[in-house]
Structure formats: structure tokens, C-alpha cells
């Protein structure tokens, strides 16, 4: 007989992951489905900014208030995913300094700590900042690692009994009459089809949720908005740097681990291009030009890669043209809205408000299922962020170089990374300090099946060299773990190709030299081109 779930959640981004955690914590029998890997969509193409809400304070008080509340919550429940850097909103000679007052007032009104500081003090706090600044406001911005945050949510959902199917794509929504009763999925690796039944289906597919809603017979008017970003080769700034003006393109510079990111642009994208986004030379030029105004040394800093994410903007129900767009959270009860019981869509919102989005969706799910349990996701820490009263002793026998880096990435769970000998301690990725043991932990415990999975779970290959040699080292370890050399080699070829897609829009200077080096090694010396599976759909 078919197993029946209380709830099936579609989408392994941060919203789906948070919803799976909330549902599982409230005792629902939960299944999370993702067609690729966790964070493969907009979540993994994010700015990594822990918004204080200050950016929205002047234009959207409600978003600003949500942001600062969630900001404070994440510092507590997800501290191993968060860096408390603080941020500066700087005024440049071309900006109106009078805006600063309006800005501070709006921040304070939304509950965001905001203090004007002297430009000289701003330069002392953040030496990379443009020295021409005429004013600065300090706010509680920070950095958040969206990969780590998603994986921690999914991991906790699993600890609470949820099941997770990655690389499973929903091909149709099962209905009995008008009621949604489950989904039909295809395993993208084995191509096998499965039918999965549930009392409720929650659509957390981000922009792809548009098509999922269509399968269920509902219309959710979404408008894809593309945001392009550039990653620089080292961490130029230690604080987030923003422009103190109305939100515009390319005016936020965020530090993240060993690198920093400038973003974003914002442009409408035809729906048929959401799976194949290209960063254009014009976008690169704009990001560079505006970025260098925040921190002039960016102009001479090597760019590692360019990428773009797509925000799911939702048009109001009475406005199919999309002129009145909300950036807020949209939680749709399709039973009352469209006469389709058993189906909920949670969309809109932002990375920052994922937990709140999950809470709204889970509240609605609980109401439908008659479950009376309170949301606890704002109080109970994610795995890795638990308070440790006494310093928990690592189960490792050795002092090892990657240990600190792994603690940063896995928090209190890093004690489960077992280093028994020097082989385990040896570094696979030197830029990010990822050891053999951490790679094996990600394979065995965090479900990493390929190099891209590993990258998202350990930061392997995310540093300055962008996976030059560590990709091949990791590939060898995966090949050993999964026992199929051909599959691992094809995986390595596809990883190097993905890496190239982020590199070529910015491939000049050192990045071009690095690209040529890569080609010499992987195609020339190794002959990896033999494993290239030409463009897949």
C-alpha cells in the first residue's frame, strides 16, 4: 500500500527547508521533494546578506520590521550560519546627505538600531570604504550562509522524522475531484516514476512554483526578476557596505567567509529563461562600476565568478498585468481562493523571512489538518547552533588544520567529523580548509552525492581558486565512496563546466589565466572532455 504523508512540500530552497522543519517539529508526517540539489535555485544564488531591514525602512516599513525581527531570531537559532559584521550605509558626494535623517528616522521607527557616525570613524571601522564618503550610518546588517542555513533546516527536519527526496521532480499533481491528494514524481537520476500521497501539498517552489500551481489547476501570477552578482577573489570588506539612498542597482557589498559579493541588478526576465540565466557584459560593467564606488579597491580585485538568481515576485490577485507587485510574503490557501482543497502556495518573501514564511505556511497546514501545535522554530536552535554549556569534546583524536573552519561551517555538529589519522586531516580544499574527514562527513551524514552537493555543504571549491584542484581531489573521494568511477568523472566534467559558466562573463586578467590553466589540466593533461555530456536540458 502507498504510504501517506500529512504534508508534501515541493522545493528544496530555504522556504521549503524551513517549512519542512516547522511541519516536522509540529509532529506532521513530512516529505520534502526537490528536483535538483538543496539550494539549487534562488537560495543558492543569493547575496548572503543578513538584512537588518534598513534597506527597506524608507520604502516599506512592514518588510523592514519583519527583517529586523527575523535578523535577531537568526542570530540566535542559526548562529553558526551568521556572521555579525554590522553594516554601513554610506553617503557619497553624489548622494543627498539630507536623506540620512529620513533614513535614520525610518530605521528607528521599524525598531532597527541606526546611528550616524563620523566619516573618519567609518573609515577606521571599515578601511576599504570609499574615503570620499560624506556620511555613514551603522546598522545591524550581517552575513548569512544560505547553503549552511538550508542544510541545517533540512537536517533538523530529518531529525524530527521528515523524509527528504532530492533529485526528484514533480511531474504532476494528483487530484481526486478538486482535492489535491499527492504528487507524481520522476527520479531525475534513475528516471523512475513514483506516486506519493499526502493530505496536503505545499508549493514552496519559488519562481518554479508558478508552474507547480498550474499543474494543480491554480494560477499564481509570478514575475521573474533577475538579480546578477559578482564574487570577488578575497574578502575586501569586513562590514556590509550599502549606499544611503533609495534602493538601486549594485549598491550592497557583502563579505562572506573568504570572499565578498557585490549585487544586485534587477531586471524582468521572460519566464522561459529562468533555467538558463546569463549574466551580460552590461551587467558586469554596472556591478563593477557601482561596486568600486562603495570600496574603490574592487576595481583592481580579481573577480572569481558572476551569477544570477531569480526572485519570485507575485502580482496581486486583482492585477494580472503585474504592475502592483508585492515583495512581501504571499501565503495562498487554494481551497478558499480557487476551490482546490489540499493545496497551499508559500512564495514571495526573502531569504531573511524564510522562517516566518514557513511559520505562516505551517500554521495554515496545521489548521487544515486540525493539529493544534505552536510554532517553536524561533526559539529552538538549529543543529549546529545549540548552546553548549560545557565545551563538548570532539570525538577526533587529532589536532587538525581544518578544524576551526569546520566548526564555523557545522557549528556544534563539527564534533561529529571524525579525524582518526593524518589522512583524515589532510586538506582537500586549501582555500577553504576542507579536510578529507569533512568531505566524508558531508557524504555520509549530509547526503552529498556529487561535487556540487559537497560545495554547498562544505564550501569546497568556493574560495579563491574556485575548485582548481580540489574538485578533482573531491571527485576521487566520491568515486571511492560511490564505487562508480565513470559517474564521478562525468560529475567532475559537469562541475567544471558549471564553474566555467560563472567564470566566462568575468574572464579577463587573472580569471582568464586561471581558466586557461584549468583547461590545460582538465582537458589537456586529464582528458576530462571525454566525460562531457553535452548540454542537457
Amino acid at each position: 500500500m502507498f504510504k501517506e504523508y500529512d504534508v508534501i512540500i515541493i522545493g528544496g530552497g530555504i522556504t521549503g527547508a524551513g517549512t519542512a522543519r516547522d511541519c516536522a517539529m509540529r509532529g506532521l508526517k513530512t516529505l520534502l521533494i526537490e528536483r535538483h540539489d538543496l539550494t539549487a535555485g534562488a537560495t543558492g544564488r543569493n547575496h548572503g546578506l543578513l538584512h537588518s531591514g534598513a534597506r527597506y525602512a524608507v520604502t516599506d516599513q512592514e518588510s523592514a520590521e519583519e527583517c529586523i525581527r527575523e535578523n535577531m531570531t537568526l542570530r540566535k537559532i542559526a548562529r553558526h550560519c551568521v556572521e555579525e559584521t554590522d553594516g554601513l550605509f554610506i553617503t557619497l558626494p553624489e548622494d543627498d546627505l539630507k536623506f540620512q535623517d529620513t533614513f535614520i528616522q525610518s530605521c528607528l521607527k521599524a525598531g532597527i538600531r541606526a546611528e550616524a557616525i563620523d566619516p573618519a570613524e567609518a573609515i577606521r571601522l571599515e578601511p576599504s570604504v570609499n574615503k570620499a564618503l560624506t556620511g555613514a550610518v551603522r546598522v545591524p546588517d550581517g552575513a548569512v550562509d544560505p547553503f549552511r542555513l538550508t542544510v541545517a533546516n533540512v537536517f533538523d527536519a530529518q531529525l524530527h522524522g521528515a523524509e527528504v527526496l532530492t533529485y526528484h521532480e514533480v511531474v504532476s499533481i494528483l487530484k481526486e475531484g478538486y482535492r489535491v491528494v499527492g504528487v507524481e514524481v520522476i527520479d531525475n537520476q534513475s528516471k523512475e516514476k513514483k506516486t506519493l500521497r499526502s493530505r496536503l501539498v505545499i508549493n514552496a517552489g519559488g519562481i518554479w512554483g508558478h508552474a507547480i500551481a498550474e499543474m494543480a489547476g491554480a494560477t499564481v501570477n509570478m514575475f521573474p526578476a533577475k538579480g546578477a552578482l559578482l564574487i570577488f577573489g578575497h574578502r575586501v570588506n569586513n562590514m556590509v557596505i550599502n549606499r544611503c539612498r533609495k534602493p538601486a542597482d549594485a549598491d550592497i557589498l557583502v563579505p562572506g567567509d573568504t570572499i565578498c559579493l557585490i549585487g544586485t541588478t534587477s531586471s524582468r526576465l521572460p519566464y522561459d529563461q529562468i533555467d538558463d540565466m546569463k549574466v551580460t557584459p552590461d551587467e558586469v560593467d554596472l556591478l563593477l562600476r557601482e561596486g568600486a564606488k562603495l570600496a574603490p579597491e574592487l576595481a583592481d580585485t580579481r573577480i572569481l565568478r558572476a551569477y544570477a538568481g531569480v526572485r519570485p515576485l507575485v502580482a496581486a490577485d486583482n492585477d494580472p498585468s503585474g504592475r502592483s507587485i508585492s515583495r512581501g510574503i504571499v501565503c495562498l490557501d487554494h481551497e478558499t481562493r480557487d476551490g482546490i482543497p489540499g493545496f497551499i502556495t508559500i512564495t514571495g518573501g526573502k531569504l531573511m523571512t524564510y522562517r516566518l514564511m514557513a511559520e505562516w505556511a505551517t500554521d495554515l497546514a496545521c489548521k487544515k489538518l486540525g493539529v493544534d501545535k505552536k510554532c517553536q522554530t524561533a526559539e529552538i536552535c538549529l543543529p549546529g547552533s545549540e548552546e553548549t554549556k560545557t565545551e563538548k569534546k570532539s570525538s577526533s583524536q587529532h589536532v587538525w588544520l581544518g578544524e576551526k573552519a569546520a566548526q564555523g561551517r557545522h557549528g556544534s555538529r563539527s564534533t561529529n567529523i571524525v579525524v582518526n589519522d593524518e589522512n583524515d586531516a589532510s586538506l582537500v580544499c586549501e582555500c577553504e580548509g576542507v579536510s578529507v574527514a569533512e568531505v566524508n562527513y558531508a557524504i555520509e551524514t549530509l547526503g552529498a552525492k556529487n561535487i556540487i552537493n559537497l560545495r554547498r555543504r562544505t564550501r569546497l571549491g568556493m574560495g579563491t581558486c574556485q575548485g582548481e584542484l580540489c574538485a578533482c581531489r573531491a571527485s576521487g573521494l566520491l568515486s571511492k565512496a560511490n564505487g562508480c568511477a565513470k559517474k564521478s568523472a562525468e560529475d567532475l566534467a559537469s562541475f567544471m563546466n558549471e564553474r566555467w559558466k560563472g567564470m566566462f562573463p568575468v574572464a579577463w586578467g587573472e580569471t582568464l589565466a586561471e581558466a586557461q590553466f584549468t583547461a590545460w589540466i582538465y582537458e589537456g593533461v586529464c582528458g576530462l572532455d571525454a566525460f562531457d555530456k553535452k548540454e542537457e536540458a
Binding site: S479, A493, L512, V525, A530
Partner: protein, 409 residues
């Protein structure tokens, strides 16, 4: 200081030019920044991998290709000199003139090769595997070599493989530092007296096999250790290339350099050319980073400074340029045309390089510079990967330019 020829770049092409010119009695200077493509050597030189017979492949190349500038007749003459030249340096190469054989890559696939260092495992031109059963060994904990790929590749060709990791107490010490387990460090450890012990460990797995395959991690400074190891191992022992750095590649570079110096050449390592003085369509002298105001003069100059990775070519957001003298380059103006979206397609930027005439004279502002020649991967008009001709272009363009310059005494 005055030389007959000054060579900028101390990689494969610069060293071959330096050796050949020194043999002709020329007084040569090589200025080398230290970067060389030999550090990521595959173990083999390719001449042209487009066909089984490299000369048939060469015949299909366009006029812009360096081989076409050299001409078929000279290619035939010069290519015959390669094996003897390396023999003289102390490097034995295997392979025949007009048939490519196959090398085994670190991913376990076969790629065409023209001449291969004797110590590497190769497959003959007909593609028939020379072994029925082999032992594939790795050094325990060495992450830049993956036996599973080699074994899978060979097994797909019907060779039975047994895979083993070997360890030695001396290597355990290397392992104490998590970043030390790299090819060159292993080679520095596995030398001298330890070769006997290494052979003993290898021999534990050398029963009932036709050959033993292991990563190329022995013989950093000379081939003595390699010869000794091969003698002591009970079965034929062959190397397979590792990820960089390449231990045999570094050895080739060192041996070429020593030979050049033995012939009277001057090799300035870790130095780079900062400027040149031009007069009447000729380069008169250069200055280098480490020698301040000292002018190095020569009758002729050879630019063998390599491609983007070796900094012989440079690029910025606006275009591609030659960074030392600002020589004319062949490239594309629109940046988005430099690339193909699939990494493994023929990337146009790979064929960018310094513009030259049919004798490899370079140009500046459209004017030919009479006494400056370019050789090797700084040249335009060829695709080292897709045409399998990187080493061939480096060596043959160097020998060709050398043939154009005069013999002293």
C-alpha cells in the same frame, strides 16, 4: 652586458631555443620568471593529435597556424631532431616519428601522444593494450592521483586491475602536515636510500601481473632514482601522470636548464623583463626587474614568454595585450566572443597570441621588428588542446627560429 641572443621565457620553448643556439656557438641569456607549462606536464609531447599520423594532421591546418609558417619540409627536418636533442640532455623519449601512440591520462582515458618520456606507461599506435593484468598503486593519502579512475579506464579496455595503496614510515611524517602530501614533496622524500624500501613495498603487489602502474612521484632532480627503482621492481614499472605539479615535468625543466648552462648559456631565474629600448625598427636592449638600470643588449631577441597563464599574454576588461613591449596581438575585440559557453568546446581565447610574419618576427604598431622573434605558446593561430600541438609548436618554432639565426665561428 651584450649577448648574441636574449630569450625571454625559460619554459620548454625558450630552453630549446637557448640550447640549439648555444650549440651553434651563440652566447645566450634566458630571462625566466619561473612559471612554466612544464610544471603541469602530461609526460608526453604532442606534435599534432588530429590524426593517427601527425603529419597528416598537420597537412590539414590553416595558414595562420605556426606549423604552416614553418612549412612541411622544415617541419619534417626539425621534428627529426627532437628525440636526439632530448637524448643529449639526458631524457629518453619513446615514440616514432610518423605515428602517434596513446598516453594514459589521470582520468584513465587514452589520448594521442607523439613522444613520451620512457618511464610513462603508453599504449601502442594500434590501440591494443600491452597488458592483461596490472597492479595500480597509489601512495596512501595522496589525493592528486586516483587509482579508481585509472582502473576503470583500463578495465573498460579489458585489462584486469588490482588496486593498492602503499605507505612508508617516511611518508607518514609528510602526512603530519595536512598540505604536505603533494607530488613534489613525495618525490623529495622518496629518493636515495629509500628507493630500495619503496621497491620492496611495490614488490608486495608485483606478483602475477604484467606491469605495475604508479603515479609519477619519483625523480624530481634526475632520473637516477627512476632508473634504480625500475631495476629493483620485479615487473615492468610505468608512471601515470598526476595532477600538478608534475615531478617529471619539473625534472625536464631542470635538466634542460642545466644543459643550457653547460653549453655556456646564462639563465636568470626569478627575473622578468620590464622594458625595452627600440631604435630604427630594432630592439636594442632590455632592462629587468632584478637588475635595475643594467642594459642587456643583443643582436636578436626571442620572446618565448608563454600564454596567459605564464603571463606572456595579458588581458583586462577592454582587451588582450602583450605586457612587456606592447606588441601587436591577434585577438577578438568583442569580449563576449572570446569564449564558448561549454568549457570543452574550442575556446577562441586559446588561439590568441602575438602576431608574427612567416619567420615569426613580431610587430609593433603594424611595423615588423627585425630582430625580435616569438616562439611557443605566446604565438597566435593554434589551439593546443583541440589540435594537440602545444609542445610541438613550442619545440619546433624554437628550432625554426634558431635555424634562421647565424652560427658563430
Amino acid at each position: 652586458m651584450k649577448f648574441d641572443t636574449i630569450i625571454i621565457g625559460g619554459g620548454l620553448s625558450g630552453l630549446v631555443a637557448g640550447i640549439d643556439l648555444s650549440r651553434k656557438g651563440q652566447k645566450c641569456l634566458i630571462v625566466s620568471s619561473g612559471q612554466s607549462a612544464l610544471h603541469f606536464f602530461s609526460g608526453s609531447f604532442e606534435l599534432c593529435s588530429l590524426a593517427d599520423n601527425p603529419y597528416e594532421g598537420i597537412a590539414t591546418l590553416g595558414a595562420e597556424h605556426p606549423y604552416s609558417k614553418i612549412g612541411a619540409e622544415s617541419i619534417a627536418d626539425l621534428s627529426a631532431k627532437v628525440k636526439p636533442l632530448f637524448k643529449e640532455v639526458g631524457i629518453t623519449l619513446k615514440g616514432v616519428k610518423d605515428a602517434n601512440h596513446w598516453r594514459i591520462t589521470p582520468m584513465g582515458v587514452l589520448k594521442r601522444a607523439w613522444l613520451t618520456m620512457d618511464e610513462y606507461g603508453t599504449v601502442p599506435a594500434d590501440g591494443v593494450m600491452p597488458w592483461k593484468k596490472v597492479a595500480v598503486l597509489n601512495i596512501d593519502g595522496f589525493l592528486d592521483f586516483h587509482t579508481s579512475y585509472i582502473a576503470a579506464g583500463l578495465e573498460a579496455k579489458g585489462v584486469e586491475c588490482s588496486v593498492h595503496a602503499i605507505s612508508m614510515p617516511e611518508l607518514e611524517r609528510l602526512r603530519m602536515n595536512p598540505t604536505e602530501m603533494r607530488s613534489t614533496n613525495i618525490a623529495k622524500t622518496l629518493t636515495g636510500d629509500l628507493i630500495g624500501a619503496l621497491a620492496a613495498r611495490i614488490n608486495e603487489y608485483a606478483h602475477d601481473v604484467d606491469a605495475v602502474l604508479m603515479p609519477a612521484v619519483v625523480g624530481l632532480t634526475s632520473s637516477t632514482d627512476v632508473v634504480k627503482l625500475k631495476e629493483k621492481v620485479d615487473r615492468p614499472l610505468h608512471f601515470i601522470a598526476t595532477l600538478p605539479p608534475s615531478v617529471p615535468g619539473i625534472r625536464i625543466q631542470m635538466m634542460l636548464k642545466k644543459h643550457f648552462q653547460k653549453l655556456g648559456g646564462v639563465y636568470m631565474l626569478g627575473d622578468s623583463v620590464v622594458s625595452g629600448e627600440f631604435e630604427g625598427g630594432k630592439l636594442k636592449s632590455i632592462k629587468t626587474n632584478n637588475h635595475g638600470d643594467t642594459e642587456f643588449k643583443a643582436d636578436n631577441f626571442i620572446l618565448a614568454s608563454g600564454s596567459f597563464f605564464s603571463k606572456g599574454l595579458a588581458s583586462d576588461i577592454d582587451g588582450v595585450y602583450e605586457p612587456i613591449f606592447g606588441l601587436d596581438v591577434d585577438s577578438l575585440d568583442v569580449r563576449s566572443e572570446w569564449y564558448e559557453r561549454n568549457l570543452f568546446d574550442a575556446q577562441p581565447y586559446m588561439s590568441f597570441g602575438v602576431a608574427t610574419d612567416n619567420e615569426f618576427h613580431v610587430k609593433k604598431n603594424g611595423e615588423r621588428i627585425e630582430n625580435v622573434y616569438a616562439t611557443g605558446s605566446v604565438l597566435s593561430g593554434f589551439h593546443p588542446m583541440k589540435q594537440g600541438c602545444g609542445a610541438g609548436v613550442s619545440i619546433l618554432s624554437a628550432l625554426y627560429v634558431s635555424s634562421l639565426l647565424k652560427t658563430i665561428r
